[in-house]
Symmetry: C2
Subunit: 280 residues, 2 copies
């Protein structure tokens, strides 16, 4: 696998030290970046279809892409522009909202387990079980002891996923508070974006330093070898989409996906078709 400049190294995390507007590992600007993503489309589609074909032929392998990030960091943009490059039949997208009453009556991983991708699929979580150590920590929706327990529970859960055939790719879309302010103002400027805005977005933003801290702790505690974190500089939307596209592409290539071998005699079947009786 390619060296990823945005692979999070082990140890304490300081998000303020990671530039959000950088484009590590890519020479070129927006135009070249968009073209590079578009050029990835055919290969990504081919790899996704191989994964799907494998799943239909008894393989247990699948891929789970976890997208986390502050409001406006571009989880939706990645879904549209990067995940949108592959056949939608092989993709299962789940957007996790505030848990329902039924969901809250269960362990925090209950609703997550119900949305895991089946064999052969690419599953994408738009927000995820990480909210249970992010907003839950900031808004004190659980006791400190419960939050503490969850970091370990998450690592165990992801270990279990990996052991049963799921490749787990976790991306934190990293923007600064200034990036967010700019994007919220841009939303307010465009009537076609007003539906995405809610006045509570600004209230939530006031908690920015506490969210950053919650992210830093979560990233450090759950940055395992089996399910590592990638912190994607997301100030430039084209770079964010491209970086995740390349990460998916490299991850799928690393799985060495092969077309399933026919479990029937190809020549016999051809002959049956060629020799068939008239259809009437």
């Amino acid at each position: 696998m390619t060296h990823y400049p945005f692979r999070l190294p082990a140890g304490p995390v300081d998000l303020t030290s990671i530039e959000t507007n950088a484009a590590p590992g890519f020479k070129g600007g927006k135009k070249k970046g968009k073209a590079a993503l578009f050029a990835l489309g055919d290969e990504l589609s081919d790899l996704q279809e191989r994964l799907f074909a494998e799943g239909r032929s008894g393989s247990e392998r699948r891929l789970l892409l976890v997208l986390q990030g502050m409001d406006t960091s571009g989880k939706g943009g990645v879904l549209r522009h990067t995940v949108g490059l592959v056949d939608p039949q092989g993709v299962k997208i789940t957007s996790f909202k505030a848990p329902t009453e039924e969901e809250r009556a269960h362990d925090f991983l209950w609703r997550i387990r119900r949305q895991l991708p089946e064999a052969g699929y690419i599953g994408v979580f738009d927000r995820s079980h990480y909210e249970d150590v992010l907003i839950a920590r900031v808004r004190e929706l659980a006791t400190p002891e419960e939050i503490e327990r969850r970091y370990t529970a998450i690592n165990d859960f992801e270990r279990e996923l990996v052991d049963s055939g799921t490749t787990v790719v976790k991306c934190m879309l990293h923007i600064s508070a200034d990036d967010q302010k700019e994007r919220l103002l841009a939303r307010l400027d465009k009537p076609s974006k007003h539906w995405k805005f809610n006045p509570s977005d600004i209230d939530e933003r006031a908690q920015w330093p506490r969210y950053r801290e919650a992210y830093e702790i979560a990233l450090e505690r759950t940055n395992t070898e089996h399910a590592p974190w990638f912190v994607i500089p997301s100030g430039k939307k084209w770079y964010r989409n491209l970086a995740i596209g390349r990460l998916l592409d490299d991850t799928l290539r690393g799985m060495d996906l092969q077309w399933p071998v026919a479990d029937f005699d190809v020549e016999v079947e051809k002959k049956r078709l060629v020799d068939e009786a008239p259809l009437s």
Copy 2:
């Protein structure tokens, strides 16, 4: 809405009289056809997003695209190339397989109802409740009286969908037995396509005339004003994809989708952002 040469007229249906390799309403060949579909992408994406935005803002409107057709007719190709043009976040695809034991214990529409798109979504059925009057008729999986009951039940069900805000678009991907033979042979020639082939596909093909008859009856009986059938000549894959792309585009344009109007004071929110206290 544009005039559709492939809108099925009322009355008895004779599929053998409908050319599968035609390209009605389009001047040009494969290259121009592919370019025309690609050129639709931005508009389709914009319309889909408006529909989605409406759904988030209280509208009950949604779209349901039903895809039916014989094996190899290209339901998967339409999903990949046409439905794949829009944001996967706003699309819910359901592939209906042979019903499970639980599903068979219920009325045939039970499992269909569970997969209907939510408000704002484009739902796509890859096979559908029509299998219950197609394979069910050919393979005698239900009594003639039950099959007879189902045509009316389908029309009532679709009426109910339309009345509650769903625009229903039903496409039959029309190929000939010769088209299918060619495609099955092509699958057998390519190792990357073997996973899509099953020897039982050839057994099923022997029932072609009975399937054609079952389609003709189903199309005639369920070709209602509220949920009409489109018979898409699907011998040319590029034309099939383009025809359905145009049909979706025209259908969405016909819905006159508007961006939701802000339910907050835009200037007040801008001011809050600009004047905010430092985030620390």
